[in-house]
Each structure stands twice: as structure tokens, then as C-alpha cells.
């Protein structure tokens, strides 16, 4: 592990510290701002409070999107705004180029909303980001939200409330569903981060846990997982090995899914026992992490765990 990895402070980058003049108003660049997806969500992010300072669409430099300046390249957008954060909304064939450009421009955190990215491109971008001391969230992620302050992503606003729980999720809609259930029972969130539904994640569950493990303003963690891969198994091992101190509750989707079938997400596939729900549940049990049977059960399990 290199130094920048360990010291990566996502809260500093996303919102800064309370008392900063630009607390919660850090500039964000949207790559692919003029596309239908990018433009729709630029409006929604802005309405939520995100400071969308610039957009990038090659060939559309000099125009503006509803008042936000559009540049041809990330280098220009970053020079003009000083942004450290970008949201990538470009289609998969353009992802590698967009992400590389963001990293070359000095972006520290980029949220890769793009779906259907070839794994080879994801690995290349992941490795380049590591070299640059930057961090990718996604691809195929709904994004990140600091409830009631800002969001970089496509999640709806209504399920999220500010609070002290953190939600990490491998699925988009389930992140909304679980957060909605938590909010309804009084468990607001400090941060919700979509890991992404692909086999390769720029920020995996362990790295996500590292982001919050030493924070006193985070009380508990909810991990929404699904079948496929061994991210949950690795996380369980990490929780035990590092004596992770905060209460953790998990949910796993796909218990009833057939083997060797890709269940919507590129990463949601079971081969033999590898990636199966049983394997994940038994590993979580060893780490004393209760697994909810359905999303609505999460708040009750959390309440029980917090009482202990």
C-alpha cells in the first residue's frame, strides 16, 4: 500500500471540514455533461446542493449548460475551477479516455457512473489512479452522497437523511431501499457510497471501510452485498483481522439465484461455491456480522447491535 492510499480522506475531498468557507461546496466537474444522462443528473445534483462548477464534452467547449461552463478537455475544466472531484457519465467505449484525462488533469476522486465498462479498461484505470494517488468509485455505481449536503451520482434524494450510519452497497436500487428503511427508523447516514455492480471496483469494500474506520462521527456501517466474487468474504476477514470496532450489519441479495447465471450485474454470478450467498453468510457469521433476510429487516438488526 502506498501512502496516498492510507491517508485518502474522502470527506475532506467531498465536503471539506465544517468551518471551511466552501464547506459542502467543493467544485465538481461532470464529464459527459451534455449527454441525456449527464444533463438530467447535473440538474438533480445541483438541486441537491452540489457545486457543479464545470462540464466537459469534447467538441462543445465554449458553450454552457444552463449556466455551467462546458470545456473540451478535463485539463481546461480543472484549470478553470480547481476541482478535485469529477463525475463520469460518458458511455462505456469512451470511459478509458475520460478517466485517463481526469487523472492527468489532477482529479483526486472520480465517480464512474458509466455502466458496461470492459474489465480490462477498469483495471487499467484503477492502476493508473493508484499511481496518481487518486481514487475511483465505481464503475457502474450510483455514486456517493453525503446526505443533506451534496451528492455526485444518480441516486434519488428522498431515501437519504443526514445521520451517523454509513451505507456501502454493491447495488444501486438496494442502496436506496436500505437507506430509505434506515431513514424511516431514525438512522440517518453520514455517507452512502455505491461500490458498483462490476467485477472490478475502484474502491472495494475493504478500502471503503478504511475511509471511515477512524471517524468518530460514524457510528455504524451497513454493507449491502450480493452474490458473486469474494468481496464479502474478504471484508469479513478484514473485520476480524483489524478488530474493526464499529457495529456492522449486512444484507446479501441473490440467495435464490441459480448458479452460473449473470443476474443483471456483470459481477453477480456464482461459480460452484465461489460467490455464493452461503459462503458470504458463513464468513460474516465468523466476523459477528448479522445478515438481514430482507432490506426492511436491516434497521431492526442495527438497533439490536447498537444496544449491545
Amino acid at each position: 500500500m502506498t501512502m496516498p492510499e492510507k491517508t485518502f480522506n474522502i470527506f475532506d475531498i467531498l465536503v471539506g471540514s465544517k468551518g471551511d468557507r466552501d464547506f459542502g461546496k467543493k467544485p465538481v466537474v461532470i464529464q459527459g455533461i451534455t449527454g441525456s444522462y449527464g444533463s438530467t443528473h447535473t440538474r438533480l445534483m445541483r438541486a441537491y446542493g452540489t457545486n457543479i462548477a464545470a462540464g466537459v464534452t469534447p467538441g462543445k467547449g465554449g458553450q454552457n449548460f444552463e449556466g455551467t461552463p462546458v470545456y473540451d478537455t478535463m485539463a481546461e475544466a480543472v484549470r478553470a475551477t480547481g476541482a478535485q472531484i469529477s463525475g463520469i457519465f460518458v458511455p462505456a467505449p469512451f470511459f478509458l479516455k475520460a478517466a485517463t484525462e481526469a487523472l492527468d488533469a489532477g482529479i483526486k476522486l472520480f465517480v464512474a457512473i458509466t455502466e458496461h465498462v470492459p474489465v480490462k479498461d477498469s483495471i487499467k484505470v484503477f492502476e493508473y489512479a493508484k499511481k496518481k494517488g487518486a481514487r475511483m468509485v465505481g464503475p457502474n455505481t450510483p455514486g456517493v452522497i453525503v446526505p443533506e449536503i451534496m451528492k455526485v451520482g444518480i441516486m434519488p434524494a428522498q431515501p437519504f437523511k443526514a445521520g451517523r450510519t454509513v451505507v456501502f452497497s454493491r447495488s444501486g436500487t438496494l442502496m436506496y431501499e436500505v437507506s430509505f428503511n434506515l431513514s424511516g427508523k431514525g438512522y440517518g447516514q453520514k455517507l452512502c457510497l455505491g461500490i458498483g455492480g462490476d467485477p472490478i471496483n475502484g474502491t472495494n469494500l475493504i478500502e471503503a471501510f478504511d475511509l471511515i474506520r477512524d471517524r468518530s462521527d460514524v457510528e455504524s456501517v451497513v454493507v449491502v452485498g450480493e452474490i458473486g466474487g469474494d468481496a464479502e468474504e474478504q471484508l469479513a476477514e478484514y473485520i476480524v483481522r483489524t478488530s474493526f470496532g464499529k457495529p456492522v450489519i449486512a444484507y446479501i441479495a441473490g440467495r435464490a439465484a441459480p448458479k452460473e447465471k449473470r443476474m443483471g450485474h456483470a459481477g453477480a454470478i456464482v461459480y460452484g461455491n465461489y460467490g455464493s450467498a452461503e459462503s458470504k453468510v458463513s464468513n460474516y457469521a465468523r466476523a459477528d456480522v448479522p445478515v438481514a433476510k430482507r432490506p426492511a429487516e436491516v434497521p431492526a438488526l442495527l438497533a439490536k447491535k447498537l444496544k449491545r
Binding site: 447495488s171 443476474m263 426492511a296
Partner: protein, 367 residues
């Protein structure tokens, strides 16, 4: 996309990876031609995408032409895990001295590729001993690493040279064709110390297909899957009678689990992604309507930006146009749900406040 053995071997051949002489047959006449070409004895191998062919008896030896017809016909109509073969591959018998296991695959947790090899070929890798595993960078395996693996495996002399050459070719194939997995079990070490791929399990990254026009010919999807794909849906056909539709793979999986917990059996998994408009819901219902065994449709939508009245309209349109005639049980969390409930009044569709209630009702309806 999982390639059939003969398709994987076609790729191997393009990359100079040695394979046995073979002949693909779909009819007994083609098989006879193959027998003449290859000579006897030979091996008949069912071309399937499911594993465990050997155990299921879908790989058989054929000693003479007299045995060919009965053995070929038996294989051609033999289902393995519910799948019928897409052809039978006839192969010459190799002069095997020893067998290895070899695979190069996407290592999800390490975020690179990994190579595993073992001197216990021909068995499942989980149970094989003497395994060597190394990481492989995205640019491919180096000769030094390959040599190191060969030495650790205890290979020697000419076989080491063959191993380095063989794995370099496989690594190039994985990188250029964007495979998530290329597994050869077994690799045969022949009498002269050279290596030969006796099997091929290759999985191509579906998301890379936009730059692999040359692999399009290997795609094998049903009409229904094709229709779903064109609309941007993920569809998995299952064997029960409850079709599950929703926005988001995780949410639909979660619904599938709860249906199963409630004693129901899902007949389809359909994730229509992020866009919940009247048109997408209507298209989703259209796809589902083609699956005969579906007796009820369960809709689970979550999202603050879903307009529930648009969903209700799509369901009403589907009934009006006789697209569907089975009941719909829906949970739609979103704006204007009261209006949607009113709209659906008097139709065969019913809206519920929680997904648990909708599932209960759907399972009861098919009992």
C-alpha cells in the same frame, strides 16, 4: 459469453496453441466424415456451456466406426443439467505422457489476472494438489514468471520451454480477446515434451463485445434474450411461474429471494435498469408476455424519480392491448402513488405499500 469447447479451441488455434485434430458434427453423416478424416479410436465430446461433462457421461471414447452411430446419437440427445449439446466434437486420441491444469482468469479481489497451474490435471482444480498461482499484469505474462511457475511445478528440460511458449500464447489470447477466463483442463504433455490443449473453457467479457466484431459469430441468445437486450433489459429465464420485474439488478435479486422465502417460484428475472417510463414498463411486460409459464407478474420499483402513474398507465395499456392477461401485483415506491392506485382500480393489477405484501399476494394467487 461462455464459448463452447470447439469455439475456444478455434481461438487457441489462431494463437498457435496446439490442439488435437478434430471435426465438429451435428449429424451422423458429418460424424462419419469426421471418423474417416481422423481415424479410430477417437473421442466424442458433447458441446455444452455447462460444466461436469465428464461425470455426466457426455465425453465418450469410440473405438471403431461400428460404435460411432449408437454413441453419437446417444450424446446428441443427452441433456446435461437441462442443456442439449450444440454439436458433437470428434477428436483424435492424443499420446499423453502427463496432464496439467492451467487457467488464466480475472482475479476480482486482486484486480488483476491470475494464473493457476497444477501437475494434477484432469480433476477439478479445487481438489487438485501441487498448485502454483501467480499474478499476471494487464499487459500479460512475462517469460520470467512463466519459467518460475514451470520450475515450481517441477517441470524440466524441453517441457519448460514448451510451457513458457504455451502460456505466453494463452496470455496474449486472454488480453487481446478480453477473456475473463481461459481454462485448459487438462493440458497434455506429449511424448516429445510439447504441450497440447485437450479442453477449452473460455469466457469473454460481455462488456468488451463492442470492440470484438470477430467474436459475434459465437453469440448464442434466444429470441427472447435478444429482444430484452435490444431494450436494454437484463433477463434471466427461470423455471417457476412468477415473473419478477424491477429497476435495478440488486432489487430484483432481493425480490427473487423474498419470493422464494415465501414459498413461490420465480419464472423470470427482469431488470429494466434506471429508466422507468411508460414505454420501458410496457416493453418489459411485452418480453414477459412471451414466457408461457408465467401465471402472475410481480413488479417492484423503487426510486424517488419514478412516476408511479406512468407505470400504472403501462400496465393498463398492456391489459387493454391483450398483451397480458395474468394478474399483476405491484409495489411502486415513488411520487403520486395514490393516483396510480385509483387508476388501477377495477383492473387485474393491484398496488401494495410494501414489497412483502405484494409478494404474499402473488404467491397466494398461484397456490
Amino acid at each position: 459469453m461462455r464459448l463452447l469447447e470447439y469455439q475456444g479451441k478455434e481461438l487457441f488455434d489462431q494463437y498457435g496453441i496446439r490442439i488435437p485434430r478434430s471435426h465438429l458434427a451435428h449429424t451422423i453423416q458429418e460424424a462419419r466424415d469426421g471418423g474417416k478424416k481422423l481415424g479410430y479410436p477417437l473421442v466424442l465430446k458433447s458441446q455444452l456451456t455447462v460444466g461436469g461433462r465428464g461425470k455426466a457421461g457426455a465425453i465418450v471414447r469410440c473405438k471403431s466406426e461400428a460404435e460411432l452411430q449408437p454413441k453419437f446419437n446417444e450424446l446428441l440427445y443427452k441433456e446435461v443439467k437441462g442443456e442439449l449439446p450444440r454439436g458433437i466434437l470428434l477428436e483424435e486420441m492424443a499420446d499423453i505422457k502427463k496432464e496439467l491444469y492451467l487457467s488464466l482468469f480475472l482475479n476480482r479481489s486482486k484486480r488483476c489476472y491470475s494464473l493457476i497451474s497444477s501437475t494434477e490435471g484432469g480433476v477439478e482444480i479445487e481438489s487438485a494438489g501441487n498448485k502454483v498461482m501467480v499474478d499476471v499484469p494487464v499487459d500479460g505474462l512475462t517469460a520470467e514468471t512463466a519459467e518460475e511457475v514451470a520450475t515450481k511445478l517441477g517441470l524440466s528440460g524441453r517441457t519448460v520451454v514448451s510451457f513458457v511458449d504455451f502460456t505466453a500464447k494463452l496470455s496474449r489470447l486472454v488480453s487481446e480477446k478480453e477473456a475473463e477466463l481461459a481454462e485448459i483442463n487438462p493440458v497434455a504433455i506429449l511424448g516429445d515434451g510439447s504441450l497440447m490443449a485437450l479442453d477449452a473453457k473460455v469466457i469473454i467479457d460481455d462488456n468488451s463485445m463492442f470492440r470484438h466484431a470477430e467474436l459475434k459469430k459465437y453469440e448464442h441468445v434466444s429470441e427472447l434474450e435478444k429482444q430484452a437486450e435490444v431494450s436494454g433489459f437484463s433477463l434471466v429465464e427461470l423455471d417457476g411461474n412468477i415473473a419478477i420485474i424491477g429497476n435495478g439488478a440488486g432489487l430484483v435479486m432481493s425480490t427473487l429471494d423474498m419470493v422464494s422465502d415465501a414459498g413461490g417460484r420465480a419464472g423470470a428475472f427482469l431488470d429494466f435498469g434506471g429508466r422507468a417510463t411508460t414505454e420501458t414498463i410496457y416493453e418489459a411486460l411485452k418480453v414477459i408476455s412471451k414466457i408461457g409459464r408465467v401465471e402472475v407478474i410481480l413488479v417492484n420499483l423503487f426510486g424517488g424519480i419514478v412516476r408511479t402513474n406512468l407505470v400504472a398507465q403501462a400496465i393498463l395499456d398492456a391489459y387493454k392491448n391483450n398483451l397480458i392477461n395474468v394478474p399483476v401485483f405491484a409495489r411502486i415506491s415513488g411520487a403520486e402513488s395514490e393516483k396510480a392506485r385509483e387508476m388501477l382500480n377495477g383492473s387485474r393489477a393491484k398496488l401494495y405499500n410494501t414489497v412483502e405484501e405484494a409478494i404474499q399476494a402473488a404467491v397466494m394467487a398461484v397456490k
